[in-house]
């Protein structure tokens, strides 16, 4: 490992519309070093990296102050293209792939090897055609470097979310001159086994001399892989330290400013009735990348049922199908009555609610304020937050009530924002997730489906969210079905855990079952053949 500093960020400060989110942050990164960047939701991690990568959001909001120094030279990137030219690659927190193109095309976007033909002589290099064979070859090479199994010819739109992430990472690796790679929460959408593969690949890369900045809320990962840890809190640097000189507990304390016990409180045994609230028979769902083939299960009133399994096996398809967001079939009975699963409106009205795993695509109105985001569904389906004028002829939006409910949840979930009128797009990833949860809670559902509820949120917030779900379950008797890639999370809050493999349930276990048993179910059928 070289000791030469390749990147230095010096006294970086940044304001968004008068709201200071970075305050004189400095750190250095050496050649071949892996730097773990951690901090609570909204601490400023993504913003700091966006500055490094020359993202337009930064320039459009008034730029930043401080110096970015690469190889001893002060640089200032006006666009990501400049950053790429300087050897920086970045995998963003949110995907930036072209859904209608294949893995190969995405990986080699703008770096396509070109074929020479005679038209080039006449009309210049724009007449070169794409060399598909070569492209495919290069793409496979990049994918193999990561040690994963992705079909290079698959359309991104049809990929399970984990594969999308790998495609995106492969794209950054493919850049021949990449010397610094920034990964903003790359593992948030990956299962534990997938994350391991990625971490291994990163370590290998670092050995080859590439420097890596790695952002994650899974602190164990960071401690495992990073040589050095940088902790941000409220936009300030709290600590820059060699990994072997610190530990998990200390890092968490630095992050939140006080000590947290990371285990969720153990709940008192509650009574789950024998009454079956939801019964699903032979459900199939045509959700690209998360196909559900044939799933049957019962949910008892008041329980927390978990769905786990590897990415792409269909666990996410289950709630999406039941809520009518993708074509689906089979029989679903809710409180003993047949439910028309194609009618989302009716389902919500009857007391089902869903927090989607796709928070930017389905979960949020990115261009609208926080209070709209939280109240909209309840307003449309349950007619809450409306004033009835002229004997109900006109249903007038009650902006005051909308604001109040938003304030309530901002406080309850500790959502970091400037006001209830802030646009959802401007929130940090984790805070957006909290908005999605608040939206479902406002509905006061009888049964709540939550997909990946803690994806991308920090330790403190994770505890908060899981506690909120538990509390909600206990106090309101709300039945909760939680779908998660994190087995640990499921085990900490569920009463039963079903594992989904190849579009079917391969088994249901109590949370106290051994890890190996879960592992067997996850890879069960595919290994047997």
């Amino acid at each position: 490992m070289g000791q030469k500093p390749i990147l230095e960020m010096k006294e970086i400060s940044k304001e968004f519309y008068g709201n200071r989110v970075l305050n004189s942050v400095s750190f250095t990164l050496n050649e071949g070093q892996i730097l773990g960047l951690v901090g609570e939701n909204g601490a400023g991690k993504s913003t700091l990296m966006n500055i490094l990568f020359g993202m337009p959001v930064i320039t459009q909001t008034g730029g930043y102050s401080g110096d970015v120094i690469i190889d001893g030279q002060k640089v200032s990137f006006n666009s990501p293209f400049d950053a790429i030219a300087a050897g920086i690659g970045m995998v963003h927190q949110e995907f930036s792939l072209l859904p209608g193109f294949t893995a190969t095309e995405n990986i080699l976007l703008n770096k396509e090897p070109l074929k020479y033909n005679f038209l080039v002589e006449l009309f210049g290099s724009r007449m070169q055609t794409l060399d598909y064979e070569k492209m495919r070859h290069e793409a496979i090479k990049a994918i193999n470097k990561l040690g994963v199994n992705i079909d290079p010819d698959m359309l991104v739109a049809e990929m399970p979310v984990g594969h999308k992430q790998f495609t995106e990472i492969a794209r950054e690796l493919e850049r021949a001159n990449a010397r610094i790679i920034v990964l903003d929460e790359p593992t948030a959408v990956l299962t534990e086994s997938e994350a391991e593969i990625l971490l291994k690949a990163l370590k290998k890369l670092a050995k080859e001399g590439v420097s890596i900045i790695f952002i994650s809320h899974r602190l164990q990962e960071v401690l495992d892989i990073a040589d050095k840890i940088v902790v941000l809190r409220d936009g300030k640097l709290v600590s820059e330290i060699e990994t072997n000189k610190t530990n998990m507990k200390q890092v968490v304390e630095w992050m939140v400013g006080h000590s947290v016990d990371s285990k969720a409180k153990d709940s008192i045994k509650k009574n789950i009735s024998d009454e079956i609230i939801l019964s699903v028979k032979n459900l199939w769902v045509d959700m690209p990348g998360e196909l559900v083939r044939d799933v049957s299960f019962d949910v008892r009133k008041g329980e927390i049922l978990g769905f786990g399994g590897l990415a792409g096996q269909g666990k996410l398809g289950i709630p999406n199908g039941i809520m009518g967001l993708f074509p689906a079939g089979g029989e679903v009975f809710f409180e003993g009555k047949r439910l028309d699963i194609s009618d989302t409106h009716k389902s919500i009205k009857k007391g089902l609610a869903f927090v989607s795993e796709d928070r930017r695509g389905v979960g949020l109105l990115l261009e609208e304020p926080i209070d709209w985001n939280i109240s909209f569904t309840a307003m449309q389906v349950q007619e809450k937050f409306l004033k009835k004028l002229f004997k109900g002829l006109i249903k007038w939006r009650n902006d005051k009530e909308i604001e109040d409910i938003a304030k309530f949840y901002i406080k309850k979930f500790e959502i970091k924002c400037t006001s209830t009128k802030q646009i959802a797009q401007q929130l940090s990833g984790g805070n957006q997730q909290k908005i999605c949860l608040a939206k479902a809670f406002v509905l006061d559902p009888k049964i709540l489906f939550v997909s990946e509820p803690t994806r991308g949120i920090d330790v403190g917030a994770k505890k908060l969210v899981l506690e909120a779900l538990k509390e909600y379950n206990k106090e309101h008797g709300t039945t909760i079905v939680i779908i998660s890639s994190e087995l640990e999370e499921l085990r900490s809050i569920c009463d039963r855990i079903a594992i989904v493999d190849e579009g079917k349930i391969s088994g249901i276990l109590p949370p106290t079952a051994e890890l190996e048993e879960f592992g067997m179910l996850m890879v069960g059928s595919s290994k047997q053949n």
Binding site: L325, T344, H345, I348, L366, E367, W372, Q380, W396
Partner: protein, 361 residues
Amino acid sequence: MKENLNNINEKRNFGQALKNFIDVAGWPRIIIGIFLILLFAMTPIAKLRLSTSLSDTLVRVGMNAIMVLALVPMVQSGCGLNFGLPLGFIAGILGAILSIEFNLTGLKGLFSAIGISIPFAVIFGYAYGQLLNRVKGDEMMIATYVGFSSVSLFCIFWLLLPFKSPVMVWGYAGKGLRTTISTQKFWQNSLSDILSLRIGETFYFPTGMFLFFALLCFLIWAFFHTKVGTAMTAVGSNPDYARASGVSVDKMRTLSVVISTVLGAIGIIIYQQSYGFIQIYNGPLYMGFPAVAAILLGGASVHKANIGNVIIGTFLFQGILTMAPSVINSLLQTDMSEIFRIIISMGMILYALTRKTKGNR
């Protein structure tokens, strides 16, 4: 010392306020606004009367404003700019000529025209909405074709429909509608003249027309404060979110198209009552573009528009369109105002369209 500080503070506050104003208003509007003020300031040099110029501008604003307002619902629901506005105009023309055929005059004639046109607009809008729901993503291009082809289709009907009123049909043939029909003997200015203001010989303010526009603005504003209006905005903002919240995306889009078409119909009738003529055949063909240009100049983007954009945009667009040709004309002492008008109008449309993909935030 203290005073000094205060002074500095004040200066800073002023600077901040100015910056905020520029941020909110946007440079294009400020520049065009300044240009417009310059044009008004040049009226004495060009030997034009300021009062006449102002009055002309205001009348044109009133004439066109509802057609611009008609664009708001579809922008908000995510259908983009309604280049198919001519469809609404056709509904309006149908209402107008039927009211004349029935020999209705004054306000009664005008509101009958509106009343008759609405069912047509609803039917047209519904069918048009269904079509747009099938071409999500390409709405604006399809809309342009809908506008063009409906105008062409109705050229046939204008010839064939058995209208009798001698003011409307070609004198010599005794059948087929004329290209322009005068509303003068029926309901010209019947709305504009209500409570209208006349100062001196040259200044005229069409109060009634503005009141009616204000009423429609209020209705649209109110609509977007209701449950359905909120749903429509959400559909435009993120259709997947709306669908997951149990809102029917297609229904909301269709509704927005219907409202837009109805407003288009009303808009053209108000235009006719002020202009004094009903233009048929190819008349409505290009009348959608100025409306689109106006709302874009007003600061709307393809997926967000509000009533402020409508008012500011209409005023700027119509202001320049009224003032520039006449000022240039009298400065150059030629009579090419019609040519200038076309050049300026097309130029502004072109400019506005080039800016259309940029958001206004």
